[in-house]
């Protein structure tokens, strides 16, 4: 997990602990998906500012609302990327975050952008269109029957068991 960051002391958002916590959470979240700190902080502050519209001081839900907004923005971005890929599969959305993470460090400017992507980004998106599992081709694999002894063995074993049973049940000492 990336290290917790703090906003600049001059930033008005840093004035309130709730606001600072909201920014810090969103920054951490963006860092966890591969965004460098500087870019993550800039986008996080913008998101927290946007979340403040319906927020009054003392409301403890700012961080939560900002997180919801951040996650929604990412999900919408992935939707746009998946749509731009041409042939998305059900697993494309799931793979995009993983495939893009190492690239976002090198290309933070592409974050939340879905057009005019660099070549390696387009390849990563195309790679995310591979299915997570291939198409099934079901077959029945019936358990084989193994329990047929040749007749001669069946008779021999039955006879041996009979002998064993008689030996076990035989009274060795005289009748009582």
């Amino acid at each position: 997990m990336a290290q917790m960051t703090s906003t600049s002391a001059n930033d008005p958002l840093a004035a309130s602990p709730s606001e600072r916590e909201a920014v810090q959470r969103v920054v951490l979240y963006f860092q966890s998906i591969g965004l460098p700190q500087e870019k993550a902080t800039a986008v996080a502050e913008e998101i927290v500012r946007g979340s403040q519209a319906k927020w009054t001081r003392g409301d403890s839900g700012l961080a939560g609302r900002a997180m919801d907004r951040a996650m929604t923005r990412i999900a919408e971005w992935f939707d746009r990327l998946a749509a731009s890929a041409g042939a998305p599969t059900p697993g494309t959305h799931a793979q995009l975050g993983w495939n893009l993470r190492p690239l976002l460090r090198a290309h933070p400017e592409v974050f939340l952008v879905s057009q005019d992507l660099p070549e390696d980004f387009r390849r990563a998106v195309a790679a995310a269109c591979k299915p997570l599992l291939p198409l099934m081709a079901p077959r029945m694999m019936p358990p084989q029957s193994l329990w047929q002894l040749p007749h001669v063995w069946q008779r021999a074993i039955a006879y041996a068991y009979l002998m064993w049973y008689r030996l076990r049940t035989m009274r060795w000492v005289g009748r009582t």
């Binding site: 959470r25 799931a94 390849r123 299915p131 694999m141 358990p143």
Partner: protein
């Protein structure tokens, strides 16, 4: 099933030699024990002796046949394959094939470094477009499950980003991962589950173990041979033991290379199209496998009933019963696996194999099996039963007073020792006939020293293994089953306390036996002290054989050297490098935080949920799972049991919910 005439005579001659040797030895023994009249004890001893001598004779004549083949043949055995002299069009348009690796609670860095190394090796051949990798997991430990998925995601990203955008999605060259929610049938059940879902997609499957490694060209050549021989159902490529550095592991690696060579040659020659399957490093024709090799449950309870543990022998027998061939590709190399690193690890594996092999005794007489399959079943069981017979023989000998001096016993003793140790000499002689191989093993002097040292250690360790095997056979026959532990894949020395705990019974038995021998025995029985020394010294033996330091020291001295140590094959060197890299990425030091990471890491969480959806696991019983999710969220994952974590991980809804809520609620620390 047809056997060529020439081959029939070879088998006939081979069997005659075994029976002849057994007959000669038994006759001499009979003269020895019956010199003063016959007792029931004498008769019992004679039967045991005959069985044991038969067992020894098989190994001896197999080694002798192997030596003859090694000297006569100019083709190298088990060498990495190079497609020289084969038209390249034979490798074009190969059918769809899957590299199938069933795993259960294994080290993910080992599993996926192997997968990636094989993937790269295949790509380098230029013929890998139709080959997929499938890791099918039965893992029950939730943390290993998460690490498996992470390692898989790393492997998938590494390979996917190399391909160009133009490549059609979903075509070959994929690395896939699926985990079963219930592991019915263990490994064979896992493979069966795969076959039932994706079996129709692949013409061949190359079955691997978690520690398997195969060279790309060897895999391609296996597919080519399957294509060429339409009646071939299973082609087994004998694996070479590699990669570990403890003394015990290095000795096994040396044995597998030097003595294994002659046995592999002999076995491939003797068995032809009626060979056996070892469960991994083999290519299987999927369609007949699905039709003929579904394993039933054995009637009755474990250990001798229930699921068939050593499934590979039975699958080979069923394949033969279905009219297909099973062959051993003795000439094909580039196939590797890892040995157990200590005696205890070896024994733990033997415990499982012992149960499976004793189960086979129930199949020997069943209708429809090929005679050769019945021999394999019997030989598998005899591996463990022979220990019990040896112990019985020694004890009865002491009671009965065998040990009379004289020419007969001297000759018999000499013959027995020859049967036991000549195969080792044959291995050395075979190596002498190949100068390049001898050089790769360190030269004639060092190999000779290694052979002598290995023989001395095997004399000391054989009573230890004998006692373990006897315990296993008795415990299985008395109805106690086996717990399925994964094999340890790392070099690790055994601590003194651990060794004392594990070998106290052996040492105690040794002390009592030596005391009894010195007190009651005659000087004629003093030869037994050689065997009992191993028991007496079992604790220091285990400690020194598990030593990494000593293993490396012996390597520097050039002892037990193998070609793979002197010059590691590319695929092996790459696997080692990838393992280090994947380990670093998985950050094993923070293993306790694995679940927390899966919840918080958006990319990993989405990937996990994606796999669950892809497996059709989308319908959750949310009312049942929500309380667990609440505990995870407000109490922390450390308050969850392993089962709870598994339940949460198996629920896509829970994992998505936890991800969203944890980012809002959890205290996020650096």
């Amino acid at each position: 099933m047809t056997i060529r005439t020439g081959h029939f005579w070879i088998r006939f001659l081979f069997t005659s030699l075994i029976l002849g040797t057994t007959g000669a030895g038994t006759y001499m023994f009979a003269r020895l024990v019956w010199s003063g009249g016959v007792t029931i004890l004498d008769a019992v001893m004679l039967v045991i002796f005959a069985l044991l001598y038969f067992w020894l004779s098989i190994a001896f004549w197999m080694a002798t046949l192997g030596l003859i083949l090694c000297v006569l043949s100019r083709k190298p055995c088990r060498q990495p394959f190079e497609p020289n002299g084969i038209p390249l069009q034979e490798y074009a348009n190969l059918p769809r094939t899957v590299m199938l690796m069933p795993i259960c609670n294994e080290d993910p860095s080992r599993v996926f470094s192997g997968v990636l190394a094989m993937y790269e090796s295949l790509q380098a051949t230029g013929h890998a477009e139709s080959i997929d990798f499938f890791v099918v997991s039965d893992t029950t430990d939730p943390e290993i499950w998460i690490l498996e998925e992470t390692a898989w995601a790393i492997a998938r990203r590494t390979t996917a980003l190399r391909h160009t955008e133009e490549e059609p999605a979903g075509d070959g060259g994929g690395i896939y991962y699926r985990r079963r929610q219930n592991n019915i049938g263990k490994k064979s059940g896992n493979i069966r589950d795969f076959c039932q879902q994706w079996g129709g997609r692949y013409k061949y499957m190359v079955v691997l173990d978690a520690d398997s490694l195969m060279d790309g060209w060897s895999i391609i050549e296996m597919i080519r041979r399957m294509e060429k021989h339409e009646k071939l159902g299973i082609l087994q490529v004998p694996p070479v033991l590699v990669s570990h550095e403890t003394v015990f592991a290095r000795m096994q690696q040396f044995v597998s290379r030097v003595y294994g060579e002659i046995y592999v040659r002999a076995y491939a020659f003797w068995s032809q199209g009626e060979s056996n399957y070892w469960g991994h490093n083999a290519i299987v024709r999927t369609d007949p496998f699905i039709r003929h090799c579904g394993l039933p449950q054995l009637p009755g309870r474990e250990p001798l009933g229930g699921e068939i543990l050593s499934h590979d022998f039975v699958e080979a027998a069923l394949m033969l019963r279905g009219g297909w061939e099973v062959r051993l590709a003795g000439d094909l190399g580039g196939s590797y696996e890892e040995p157990p690193v200590t005696i205890m690890d070896f024994v733990r594996r033997s415990r499982r194999w012992c149960q499976g092999d004793l189960q086979h005794l129930r199949l020997i007489l069943l209708r429809g099996f090929h005679a050769v399959s019945r021999i394999y079943f019997g030989m598998g069981a005899m591996t463990y039963l022979s220990s019990l017979l040896w112990l019985l023989f020694v004890v009865l000998g002491l009671i009965n007073g065998i040990g009379a001096a004289g020419r007969s016993i001297a000759v018999l003793g000499f013959m027995t020792v020859a049967l036991l140790f000549l195969p080792k000499v044959w291995g050395y002689v075979a190596l002498l006939s190949d100068r390049a191989r001898m050089k790769a093993h360190g030269g004639a002097v060092k190999v000779a020293l290694s052979v002598i040292l290995e023989a001395a250690v095997s004399i000391l360790t054989s009573p230890i293994f004998m006692l373990f095997n006897v315990r296993f056979v008795i415990s299985i026959l008395s109805g106690r089953g086996v717990k399925w532990d994964p094999q340890r894949r790392d070099d690790a020395a055994v601590a003194v306390r651990q060794a004392i705990h594990q070998y106290s019974l052996h040492t105690g038995t040794g002390v009592v036996a030596v005391g009894a021998l010195l007190w009651f025995g005659s000087y004629q029985n003093l030869w037994l002290l050689v065997l009992l020394t191993g028991l007496l010294l079992s604790i220091p033996i285990e400690i020194s054989l598990s030593s990494l330091w000593l293993g490396r020291r012996l390597r520097r001295l050039g002892l037990f050297l193998g070609p793979e140590e002197a010059e590691p094959p590319a695929v092996l060197a790459r696997q080692h490098a990838l393992r280090v890299e994947i380990r670093r990425l998985l950050q094993f030091r923070r293993r306790g935080d694995v679940f927390r990471r899966m919840v918080l890491d958006g990319a990993l969480n989405a990937m996990h949920v994606g796999i669950l959806h892809a497996q059709g696991l989308s319908d959750d019983d949310w009312d049942r799972i929500e309380p667990l999710a609440q505990v995870a969220l407000y109490g922390g994952p450390e308050h969850l049991t392993l089962k709870d974590r598994r339940t949460l991980l198996a629920s896509p809804t829970a994992m998505q919910w936890l991800h969203r809520q944890a980012w809002k609620q959890w205290k996020l620390t650096p």
